[in-house]
Symmetry: C2
């Protein structure tokens, strides 16, 4: 294993120290681990916090900053952060306007964020959890009941961050985030595996002429393992899987502030249709040159145009990675005027910046 | 070879088409190949153009945009663009205020940009060439007489782009660019090789436990091949090589508008010293996770602090790549008030954006 690391057990800590040195506008806490906007607690706004296993950078730590996340809790690599990280992060940043947790649908993340939300609500700090489950590749997977949470997370963090900045209250932020989750769909693929430092060997085996269609961001299996095909063929499979996905209905949990307990609600993601306008994310898995992602963008855009779907905003780059995996994912999030207006607001985080 | 490409011969063309689809504010020309700001020819400002072999994206095509480059000419992968690309790119974008070519020191690039500059000056379009030769690793190399041009290019393109936007004339832009070249130093290293699509196999051989210190951005050999060491050890070698580099004196060519011919001038890069303030670029070679680059930043910043050198601005990410090579490079550019003020100006290019 050749990586730019020192001792395996110090990897996350030292990378966070590097972020602290590079970005003095962030507050980096090591025990327990979280990264905050230095000014969160002195603001008067809903606090937006996310987190998850490390290894997906710049998500989430790189998205902490004005107009996006207030805080992020990094777990060990590909491992959920613990409830005390989320609890302490929220305690250190909240300012009386409530806390919104944005949670990708992985069993450990969901369980731990729920525990943290319960602890905070018990103390009278109003906290709501929003699930992201946008991966059309598989229904259930290695670490998930239901669809996995992937690229829509990046789009949601940007837009809900802008909403909180603009003065949305907790209920409004939660409603917006839930809408974005119901508007977003993603699918990914892998050309290669990735190496987790603590393991020192590829996370899964894949032959030199094979690819994994529908892969998860930890290398978990997707829809099918097939022989290598062209960029256009890969892009067509991913894009069509997203555009042809039917209505997806599931039960999600929401905190009910009246009964002080969880309640289940039904959430439906309506299928995309002709005339829809989209934010697109063409995402690299870590080791994919940005030039190749533009090759993917070319074909994805062509397919969308042919189906009467318009890409109005886009990100092309490695925003949600799986360490050094080669591959890509495509995310499309349907937009309306509210979403578009918030997308265009300024953002200043290490991993995403404009307007400031 | 597994890459997100179609036919090898269409790679550059299709990636440019993807950029055109994603960035309607750019004008993408395929015969000959160049990318322009759509509004360049209607501006009244010095036109800043760069170019070089493809495979280093986002450099240079991703740096075309308001506040940075007006145009970029991509060659085939790791191959210089041709004089007609540079000539046509300049013809399509110039607006009477002159053209500045920013040229990395590789034999083919230098020769072809000189030919293009001669053609343009012969037609009365005032054109100046600026060399970037900032790589302290080696004196001469596989493709270079003198030091290679690497990371200072990114910093220069941002700052000189801002200067042109602010109304600097051709002579002032050229003087600023030359100053930045004399203020910049870089060194890189590789953990792995990279695969050029047309070759289909690694560009050079390197063992599983070896690294190349001082590698070039095409994988050309550097200072030494050594056994794998830690991130801190690698970072120390690169940072100290930059900080301990002595005065570097060389002859560079400049167009003399009086005699209408080239003249040679002597350029000296004074050594860095205690009290200097820097813009730092911690750059990934293509397949290095941004999290690992923060590990590099941590140690680099510590070494600089211990030597009384302050990092005042920074970029951490993959800005000048070598396809899918794993590795990193460090660039430090000494700043003064003029450079810092221009660095902070807005920029809006696909690969670098803030303030707009």
């Amino acid at each position: 294993m050749k990586k730019l690391i020192n001792k395996v057990e110090d990897v996350i800590k030292e990378q966070m120290q590097g972020m602290a040195a590079a970005h003095p506008e962030l507050k980096v806490n090591l025990e327990p681990k979280y990264i905050l906007r230095s000014d969160s607690a002195s603001q008067s706004k809903v606090v937006i916090i996310s987190g998850g296993g490390s290894g997906h950078e710049p998500m989430h730590t790189g998205f902490v900053g004005k107009g996006m996340l207030d805080g992020a809790c990094p777990g060990e690599i590909f491992t959920s952060p613990t409830p005390d990280q989320m609890y302490e992060c929220a305690k250190a940043s909240h300012n009386g306007k409530g806390v919104l947790f944005l949670v990708k649908n992985y069993t450990g993340d969901v369980m731990n964020f729920e525990m943290a939300a319960e602890m905070l609500n018990d103390e009278g700090i109003k906290t709501q959890n929003i699930l992201i489950d946008d991966d059309v590749a598989v229904k259930d997977s290695l670490y998930t009941a239901g669809r996995r949470g992937v690229g829509t997370t990046v789009i949601m963090e940007k837009i809900v961050g802008a909403a909180a900045e603009a003065g949305y209250d907790l209920e409004q932020c939660a409603a917006l985030a839930t809408k974005i989750n119901s508007y977003g769909r993603s699918m990914g693929m892998a050309l290669t595996s990735c190496i987790v430092p603590a393991a020192g060997k590829p996370n899964f085996d894949i032959d030199d002429d094979e690819i994994e269609i529908g892969v998860g961001i930890h290398g978990e299996p997707g829809r099918k393992r097939i022989a290598m095909i062209t960029c256009d063929e890969i892009t067509s499979i991913l894009t069509n899987a997203i555009l042809d996905d039917e209505a997806y209905t599931r039960k999600i949990k929401e905190w009910d502030f009246d009964s002080n307990d969880w309640k289940e609600i039904e959430l439906i993601s309506p299928p995309f249709k002709k005339g829809d306008k989209m934010i697109a994310l063409v995402n690299g898995m870590g080791s994919t040159p940005v030039s190749e992602l533009y090759g993917v963008y070319r074909k994805m855009n062509e397919i969308c145009e042919n189906k009467g779907i318009t890409i109005t905003r886009k990100l092309v780059g490695s925003y949600m990675t799986a360490l050094d995996m080669q591959g890509c994912s495509i995310t499309l999030v349907k937009v309306d005027d509210e979403i578009l207006k918030l997308w265009d607001k300024p953002v200043h985080a290490p991993g995403l910046r404009w307007g400031i």
